[in-house]
Amino acid sequence: MSTTTKSVLSATGVIAAIATVVVGLEARQHADLGLIQAPSSNMSIDRLLASRTDDVNVPAGDYFYNLSQKLKEQYVEPVSDDQKLASGAVRGMIGSLKDPQSLYMDKNQFTAFVNARQGQFEGIGADFDLVTGKSNAQAEAANEDPGPGATAEDTMVMVRDIPRLQVVSVVPGGPADKAKVQVGDIAYSIDGHWIVDSKLIQKFRTAQKAFIAKKMPLSELNIIRNEIRAKADHAMLPLRGRDLLFMGKTGTVTVVWERGGKQITTKITKAPSHLPGFGVHNGAILLPFVPSSAKSLKQEIEGKSAVTLDLRNNTLGDLASMKQCLEVLVPKGNYGDFVTFRHESPTPLVVHNGNSKPPKITLITDKSTRGIAEIFALALSSRGYASLTGESTGGDRDNRSIVKLPDGSGYTLVTSVYKPKLGSTAVARKGGAK
């Protein structure tokens, strides 16, 4: 081999080696995505400039990974619980939906929720909802989860419309029932802690505007200001209030409720309580929507030409179990739609095989008939298979996914809203206004 060839070859070798190192560096950049800028590192000018444009779009998963790593490297205390970071991120995402029906729950909250779905309650023995007094759709801006560490005052500044904590069902014979708590009661304060509500803040804002427009003297504004200050010193958010009433098996809470413009004070000792399961009481079938209900229902209606179903205190039903009950009761067909606001075609609520000889059905409902139970009542009544007696239903027709996370926490996510078949407005109206 000539010297020229040799030197050309070795030069090629060196170039190849350098090129390979660069390829390795690039490969790593792609592996890590380089989310974190390192101003001190010797990044090429090009790269830094490129990273200053607005259209950098780092995929969510990579973003999460890189940020977690940065926290673990830098945070003043060791970060050992990775799962907590992931759950925190989920909490943040669910909270950003600002939907009182889509909620993140920590491990204890989620456990209490799942047990309540089986009829096993703790706390004061009642189910709650966050309501704004308006429809669900208008309530969206209401539920701000400001994350840990936020004070009630922060939230008052942040949120224009804070939902109120309302009783939507009461376990018969449970502590709340014994204290004569009623469906529809709104929690005003718990153990002296005022539950933040937007009415007072709106009043202050209106007064402030009036003051600026020189239509109100300062002294009047100060009265409202001082009232807010005094309350804010001992305030809590509606979600925290729910925890205090919904969770725990011991301890006593003093709760002030608002009922029809009046305040009622109750002292309630927490204890486990449970909703009666499937069964016949006074000729009516109590029908919770849990997995075993369809089978029991089938046996119970065998050979009967008319049945009465009691759907009161039924707020946490399970969709699959409810569908099985429909199969047992009514003929096959389409019983309305689950719709979304995503420009998708609706998903029909279908009974596949059904019961070709349906019994005459009477449903007992009231405000504590909500969610899956309300959808059930509307599905039957809109097709003319059932007549409704009692009061109108609660006004919650959301279908929710329930997801458990590896650390035991979990969340609910509204995936669709039920719409009954058209042409039955009279019946539908009776089934609860939304």
Binding site: E26, S51, A60, G61, A86, T151, H343, S401, L413, T415
Partner: protein, 421 residues
């Protein structure tokens, strides 16, 4: 045979070169490459069923595809990042979206493209509260008390003050057209102002002739604050001084360097704070020599629950070295230091990287109860004075500001008593 062997060794060298490049950042840091990076290299997915990353990814995808309403991808991603950072339970460790990150950096630099005025809300638009000397608004004839009713032809009556401010702010050198109501003029006038880089004053001074006490209000500790402090102090010291009140109320803090710089006027080579990092190492900040100033009069520092961070370090050191008495209510209790890490999409991560310890005062970090309400922490005042409620207080006005009244009397007991109203 020999040729094949040579080929293999060349290949081997290239593989080593590639791995060298791939692991270069680990070699720099002297640690093993992350398993995630190696996984990407060899195309292996992490074995365990749900890594935290997958848990996050799953929820992210589910919300995007299943939620009853459409969700903005990037909003959802950022909400997730906010939640991730909030999960540590430290209110100072947070994710800042691009817009927030920019506002934050505006604030610490205290300069931005603007007209050089501070605005407050008004029913007709925005009222000019303060016009900065030498700013473009001042040159264009805008004065305090004027009311801006329209910006670039758009009426701003009834709009949020923050919105109006961001409409007026803009790129340096560009023009903004304002409609302004001025005292003594029948009709609103149209004024065009050329935006400029604005250095907002963070120090304001007042001299109270009746008590011969000077008053310096420090709004925050940003880059120009130390120089502004010297400038305003010199203005005060042109008068006879029986005492000085430094007002740190509502001062959220700012740059530690600035606080150290300003403390160096009081004492040389003294410890300001010790910072303890998570790996156990400690760093301390000390005042430096050469800028000592003689304060030949008593000093009081006003603080309240909104005095935080650098303001607490400043007040704490003045107190610990016996240079000032603290007056007012307890401070916030922000005894930690954060670093802001910029991210490629213009957002940033603010992370608590160390805890602060003052020279004498024990650790003063804020503690809250389960409802987020204050329980302990912050600096305790030497003279506790609650702000009077029921009357409108203007900070820095000795007639209505009862905390200031007490501070004046503390530094100059001979000062004529002011009838509290």
């Amino acid at each position: 045979m020999k040729k094949a062997g040579k080929l293999f060794s060349y290949m081997g060298i290239l593989v080593i070169c590639f791995l060298f490049g791939f692991c270069w950042q680990d070699i720099q840091k002297w640690k093993a490459p992350s398993s995630r990076a190696l996984g990407t290299l060899f195309g292996v997915k992490s074995a365990s069923a749900a890594t935290p990353e997958e848990e996050f990814q799953h929820a992210y995808t589910q919300i995007l595809t299943d939620y009853v309403k459409p969700v903005d991808k990037s909003d959802l991603k950022y909400a997730g990042m906010e939640g991730l950072m909030a999960s540590l339970g430290d209110p100072h460790t947070m994710f800042m979206r691009p817009k927030l990150a920019e506002a934050f950096s505006d604030e610490t630099r205290a300069n931005f493209g603007g007209v050089g005025a501070r605005l407050t809300s008004d029913a007709l638009g925005a009222k000019i509260a303060v016009v900065f000397d030498d700013g473009p608004a001042y040159s264009a004839g805008i004065r305090g008390g004027n009311i801006v009713t329209a910006v670039d032809g758009k009426s701003v009556a009834g709009r949020d003050i923050d919105d109006i401010v961001s409409m007026i702010k803009g790129k340096e050198g560009t023009l903004v057209h304002l409609t302004v109501i001025q005292a003594g003029k029948q009709k609103p006038v149209a004024i065009t102002v050329k935006r400029a880089r604005i250095t907002a004053p963070t120090v304001e001074s007042k001299y109270f002739a009746d008590s011969q006490v000077g008053y310096l209000s420090i709004a925050s500790f940003s880059e120009p604050t130390a120089a502004q402090f010297d400038h305003e102090l010199a203005k005060l010291e042109a008068h006879p001084m029986k005492g000085l009140v430094i007002d740190l109320r509502e001062n959220p803090g700012g740059l530690l360097e600035t606080a150290v710089d300003m403390l160096s006027r009081f004492f040389e080579n003294k410890l300001v704070v010790k910072m303890k990092f998570r790996d156990g190492h400690e760093e301390s900040a000390k005042t430096y020599p050469g800028v000592l100033h003689e304060f030949a009069y008593p000093i009081a520092a006003l603080m309240n629950e909104d005095s935080a961070s650098a303001a607490e370090i400043y007040a704490g050191c003045l107190h610990d070295y016996g240079r000032a008495k603290l007056v007012g209510t307890h401070s916030y209790g922000k005894a930690s230091v954060q670093n802001v890490f910029p991210l490629v999409d213009r957002s940033s991560a603010k992370i608590t990287i160390a805890k602060y310890f003052l020279p004498v005062t024990p650790f003063f970090g804020r503690k809250v109860d389960e409802y987020g309400a204050y329980t302990s922490g912050g600096l305790e005042p030497d003279l506790k004075v609650e702000l009077s409620t029921g009357t409108e207080v203007t900070f820095g006005d000795p007639k209505s500001d009862n905390q200031l009244q007490k501070a004046i009397q503390l530094v100059n007991p001979q000062s004529p008593a002011i009838a509290a109203n």
